[in-house]
Amino acid sequence: MDPIIRFENVHFTYPEGEEEILRGVDLQIEKGSFVAVLGHNGSGKSTLAKHMNAILLPSSGKVLVRGMDTADEAKLLDIRRSVGMVFQNPDNQIVANVVEDDVAFAPENLGVPSAEIRQRVDAALRQVGMYDFRMHAPHLLSGGQKQRVAIAGVLAMEPEVLVLDEPTAMLDPQGRGEVIQTVTRLCREKGMTVVLITHHMEECIGADRLVVMSNGAIVADGSPAEVFSQVELMEREGLDVPETTRVLHELGLPTETLDAESCARLIAEKLR
């Protein structure tokens, strides 16, 4: 199947900056997949995300969304409608004083007829489980709830890809759980393509694919189990690996599993 987002040897330097933030990224994201991008601060993972809906344009190379070049000004709205983006700080992406008005913002911008906006808003709020809060004031919601409203605001555009740029960085553990669960469900049940940018290792375990970024380049790419099994590489990058992987690695056992139960079984077999 054709990838929905394709990076072709993308380099990026800020106009006023000296340092190259992206150094030749090649990446293809398949429709319907859940891709996690892991990396610590300054690895270029947020810059990578901002290339996916043409907020930033590559200095050289190409980004194609559904075959549309992000540098093509005429396709800008089409690209942004296809790739919805959720950011780190929920307060700074909510534009209205009432939840449902905020969710309506994107379809209103797109010129969708009123009756259809109403349907989209209700559907989006139901998908993130915030329908009962539709008349609430956003500033009175918890961080996790605000972030789910932000997700609904993007879903109302009916995008094909949902890109989340560190959506949980400012949330408490409960809010983090709410957001990751919502996103996972959207991918598994609705077939939404999800790109989750994060520096929390635990959030990547449920993904189909894990991409590790360091210093503006992709250093590992594969299933979470495959990537985490490269324990030395992860340690060199200053990234955590799941406890199960660490235990198996230290015992010198194969580390192809992330599941606590199968990990226990492997250790039991070894002991026998």
Partner: protein, 265 residues
Amino acid sequence: MLKDVTLGQYFPGNTVVHRLDPRTKILLLIFFIVALFAAKGWVGYGVMLLVTAGSMAISHISPKNIFKGLKPMIFIIVFTAALNLFYTDGTPVLPGWPITWEGVARSVQMVLRIVLLIAGTFLLTYTTSPMALTDGMERLLGPLKKIGLPIHEITMMMSMALRFIPTLIEETDKIMSAQKARGADFENGSLLQRAKALLPILVPLFVSSFRRADELAVAMESRCYHGGGGRTRMKQLHFAPRDLWALLLGAMLIAGMFVLRRFGL
């Protein structure tokens, strides 16, 4: 102290006043202000007071909330009262006193005028969601777009400002606590010292506001915001028969006040 800010607050409800079209309510407020300034005598002020009290009763807004909104204006109100009390010529209340009967009457009327003005404005913001309010304004001022005024941009700025009032209040509280934890003193000292103590609050607040504005702009662009052209609204404004009746009543109020004024009442 920051909890008292009532600017841009909205009390959801389902009364007739809440259901009126925001455009009607904005126009009614203008009518109300014109009528208020046309009031001359006690009868006129009495009518305005009744109209205000009646509107509050219909829209289920308790006087407590109106008084809460008046609190920040207390200085201006007292100042106006004092000024009129002492600087109006006429017969003294007691021989030799600087206060005159005319001054007392005048200052009561001026205070009434300010209080009713504020109460009327709060009635509008309390019963209209900020989104509806700015939407109504955009529509009312719409014709000015033809002569090149950026009406959409102005109303969008207004609605963003209203949206961020609670967020910025929260942030100010946080910064104040942080500074207090490091020994900052906001309550004691002379006025100048207290004003100086506010500087370490304003600087971070300013810096973070710029960062917020930046992030907000990116988020809005990501949600396909591209100016006012081609936008639709989820909640369309409907001009119902009740709006016509309300406007008629408003016009009658103005006419009535001018009649009373003619007779010096």
